[in-house]
Amino acid sequence: MREIKYEDLVKSVKAMVMHTATHLPQDALNALKKAYEEEESEVAKSVLKQILENAELAAKEERPLCQDTGLAVYFVKVGEDVKVVGGSIKDAINEATEHAYKEGYLRASTCDCFDRHNLKDEVGYNLPAVIHFDIVKGDKIDIEYAAKGGGSENVSRATVLAPAQGKEGVKNFVKEVISNAGPNPCPPIIVGVGIGGTFEVAAKSSKHALFREAGSPNPDPELDAFEKEILEELNKLGIGAMGMGGTKTVLAVHIEKNPCHIASLPVSVNVQCHSSRHAHITL
């Protein structure tokens, strides 16, 4: 059984979280640069220019890209042949999150659902982290991380379609969600679509779809073609960068599909704002 020290896990996760708040990853930068070059609306182009300048400045001065430094969301795959010594994996991730958000001067954004008081003093600074665990073969710990802002979560939606609605139904639902969202989720956005499974599996898949490198091909050729078809339709909506009107509303559509019940067709749409802050480490 391979062993990883608790302190080492905390150190690695903390470094990743701090870096992600100030450095936009290359895939997001490339997608934004391409949108800037191709955008036809002058107003939207000037917005895209500001977004790119912001990314440059944030990295240079190590300032948070956005004041909404998000909730910390993790997808963690733990190998059956690896063990963390000196504490639990969950504690290590929460500890790393708290330290990174505090020391990086990031915002604590977790609060009570009803009275809305900030939980930084009783639960922890920006805690709890949102962690999705999976057990896999091997002796590694694989961690995907995203700082997920509230504006784009607020427009995300899930439903269960009738099987007869099929692909057309999925496409129409995605279009409806993005059209209703308009300027609110800080376009140009990335659209994660989770299809199939049960209600919650679709939702989780739509979140995980956002972790893929923006614009990378879907390994399933049928889904790859479907992503491109939806992308083209969404960019006809005319919403544009920050909703000012334009041709580049969506940078990429990413789909994850799961087997589902014979009676159901669950679909979830999770939206990612243009500040697509995500990272991936393997220990």
Partner: protein, 184 residues
């Protein structure tokens, strides 16, 4: 599309000049408030009590900044989504507020209040929090420190770049912009 430099407090004449799509570089004092602070301001108005700042001609920025690093006035400070303030803004506009800065759609009631009392809704670029912070020269919490990032701050800004989204003539840049670029 015109470009203006304006200094707060804003007057009716300032607001009347502005049309959707115009770019304005704001200087002077602006105030920050999000939902929780808006609710308290409206409660004070309803109780007939004094507000922590003068609403007349004021510009309110919807923002919850990150904590400042030592020696800096403010952390990253981009706009938050404005619809959460929709139920409060018309009351503040009625009592003299002239400008709002945020991002995202506003309700018909807010647009109506902009027309009736001559006010304007500006959009700032969401997710450009590091860049925008450069235009904020001073920041001071003047009310509700217990709200943390949601406290009311008095900001001194210089050439703070915003775009007119809703003017006092009923115009809506989000609707017009989208109409112009939508393909059937």
């Amino acid at each position: 599309m015109a470009e203006y430099k304006m200094t707060t407090p804003l007057t009716d004449e300032d607001v009347e000049k502005l049309k959707i799509g115009d770019i304005v570089y704001l200087s002077g004092t602006i105030y920050t408030a999000r939902d929780a602070a808006h609710k308290r301001l409206v409660d004070l108005i309803n109780e007939g009590k004094e507000l922590p700042f003068d609403l007349k001609g004021s510009v309110i920025y919807f923002v919850g900044p990150t904590p400042p690093k030592p020696g800096e006035p403010i952390g990253s400070a981009g706009p938050t989504t404005s619809y959460r303030m929709d139920s409060y803004s018309p009351i503040l506009i009625k009592h003299g507020q002239k400008g709002m800065i945020g991002k995202g759609k506003r309700s018909e009631e807010v647009k109506e209040a902009c027309k009736k009392y001559k006010a304007v809704y500006f959009g700032a670029t969401g997710g450009a929090g590091a860049l925008i912070a450069k235009r904020i020269k001073k920041a001071e919490v003047i009310a509700y420190p217990e709200l943390g990032p949601e406290a009311i701050r008095k900001l001194e800004v210089e050439d703070f770049p915003v775009t007119v989204v809703n003017d006092c003539y009923g115009g809506d840049l989000y609707e017009e912009g989208r109409k112009k670029w939508a393909k059937a």
